[in-house]
């Protein structure tokens, strides 16, 4: 089998403070195939955003640190690269888009300059070449008046337009991997549909693999080829999207799916997962979901369950599955 584009092995990202250590990412493994979309789902505090920031080596220093693990992009371990080498990877081999484009875009630079900056830095284009390329990129993300938009500032664009401009910037160097952290959470439904549609066509046309980090199971069901469900800094279940949605095995995955209202289906009462997400500074010894799990047994609390493979490509971290 061909080597996957990205392999993350036993990744641990900790925030080390004087009094406590927050284990934001605590032993995460996953793979992203070439041209595939991996959806990482989880609630707030599950470590999904920190995982994606770790891949970009953008963990807030000095407290935050990747303490263990490998991040292999095409077989090259990103954790071993120097900061200078890493700047050649960011924006060039891996692009990233964030939830709030207004805070990710520079408010005092024109859109064209911001997109051009990436091209000048990585592709050594001249200013005028970069501008021309920026216009064509903006056209490809659906700006009919791209020639004017290059001269506009972020505040002149609407939320959906800003997000599309950010996608254009992330895609400027045709990265092999695009990391999208809650790319549509701040957008309205009809605008979300536009942005998801755009990401889908990018993937089909340029073969870019995407890591889609979101709390929205609907977006994942629609976009992902594979899914990793995170809880308490760990992957609790991973597999193909079809398997995860049709036969979820982990009690947490099942509870998540039963807790959301669905349009196609009338649910008299939602399943409410009792309690709260455990604190990342103070995880219990055994399974991290044990306190909220309806099927919990004594042995769940004794030792951390392994992420076991149940069928090819479908793994679950639960001793009962």
């Amino acid at each position: 089998m061909a080597q996957p584009l990205l392999q993350v092995k036993n990744l641990r990202t900790y925030f080390i403070g004087r009094q406590s250590t927050v284990k934001a990412v605590d032993g995460v493994d996953f793979e992203v195939g070439r041209g595939k979309v991996l959806g990482i789902v989880g609630e707030s505090g599950s470590g999904k955003s920190m995982t994606s920031l770790s891949v970009m080596r953008l963990v807030p220093a000095p407290q935050g640190r990747i303490v263990e693990g490998e991040i292999l992009l095409d077989g090259r371990d990103l954790t071993k690269l120097s900061e200078k080498q890493m700047t050649d990877v960011r924006g060039n081999e891996i692009g990233m888009i964030f939830q709030e484009p207004m805070s990710a875009l520079n408010p005092v630079l024109k859109i064209g300059e911001q997109i051009g900056e990436v091209l000048i830095r990585h592709r050594k284009l001249s200013k005028s070449q970069a501008r021309a390329k920026a216009i064509s990129l903006l056209k490809s993300v659906g700006f009919p008046r791209a020639e004017q938009v290059v001269n506009e500032y972020p505040h002149q664009l609407s939320g959906g337009m800003r997000q599309r401009a950010m996608i254009a910037m992330a895609m400027a160097c045709e990265p092999k991997l695009l990391i999208a952290d809650e790319p549509t959470t701040a957008l309205d439904v009809t605008i979300q549909a536009q942005v998801l549609d755009l990401m889908r066509s990018l993937k089909e046309n340029s073969g870019t693999a995407i890591i889609l980090v979101t709390h929205d199971l609907g977006v994942v069901a629609e976009m992902a080829d594979d899914v990793a469900v995170m809880y308490g800094g760990q992957v609790v279940e991973s597999g193909s999207a079809d398997e995860i949605f049709d036969q979820p095995l982990h009690p947490y995955t099942r509870a998540l799916m039963e807790s959301i209202p669905v349009i196609d289906q009338d649910r008299e009462r939602l399943y409410a997962i009792p309690g709260n997400v455990p604190s990342a500074a103070n995880f219990p010894v055994g399974c991290r979901f044990a306190d909220r799990c309806t099927l919990v047994q004594d042995k769940c609390r004794e030792a951390m369950p392994e992420l076991r493979s149940m069928s090819p490509g479908h793994s679950v971290r639960c001793i009962l599955a």
């Binding site: 609630e43 707030s44 337009m161 605008i191 979300q192 549909a193 069901a221 999207a241 079809d242 997400v277």
Partner: protein
Amino acid sequence: MSVTEKSVKDGVATGTLLEVKGVKKYFPITAGVIRRKVGDIKAVDDVSFHLNRGETLGLVGESGCGKSTTGRLIMRVLDPTEGSIEFDGKDITHVRGSELRHLRKDFQMIFQDPYSSLNPRMSVGTLVAEPMVVNKTASRSEIKDRVAWLLETVGLSADARQRYPHEFSGGQRQRIAIARALSLRPKLIVADEAVSALDVSIQAQILNLLADLRKEFGLSYVFISHNLAVVKHVSDRVGVMYLGRMAEIAPKDLLYSNPLHPYTQALLSAAPEPKRHVQRERIILVGDVPSPAKPPSGCAFHTRCPKVMDVCRSERPILKDHGGGQIVACHLYA
């Protein structure tokens, strides 16, 4: 008007609690040093609907559609530019001062972010008691008992009363806000994006709580949200708003199974569902919502409508009943 009479005649409901008639809210746009008025933001532009006792009306729409402004108009936090609001048979459009405060006991609001609506320097016990103290509805010892009972009702432990909002998680804070809203025994609760900031597992807890409270106290809700699935779950009827106007309002089963307005159709088709292998025809609208300062002529949706006709550009469609209480403002069905 006719709608209200009809629903009463059919014996479906036990009367109207809230009647909103032709309400408009324009915010002035000013310019220059003397703040001369140069235009209006038409946040709510001629909206009418009613709410029956014990009913939940969902209001959906995208940002800027006027759903929150509508909620605030009902609460009388904002004064309508035009139109009237009747609550429990009384015209409350122009009520002010102490009379308004007195009336407000009957309608309370919960917000999206409970952290900014709860005073961080007040203990939970004080926060929940405050409405009763201000309105002098009970004696000191009664208030104490009632606070304990309210906290229990919303699922918080009794020791919560000595603690402060920052010690609680988002879901628990929302419970505190709900306890506070319930303290004066309201008839109506306006919930503005009350679960939008919560994680799905917590969202389910709060939605279940709201359903329980409704049953227990016979509450009516106006439930404002951008999430179509959540709105369907909680509502009896749903109103879809676009650019300050009501596009369609219908019993939820009709609205979700047979949406008539092209905007409702597009919204429903765009909502991602957490399921695989669903074959749906997705309608992807082009462009953004126009500015409410310069709403398009005719039908506000005509600039993005896939089924636009000539008449849509010039004439504003009026709400018409298409049977079963499904009311639509669209020239396609004229």
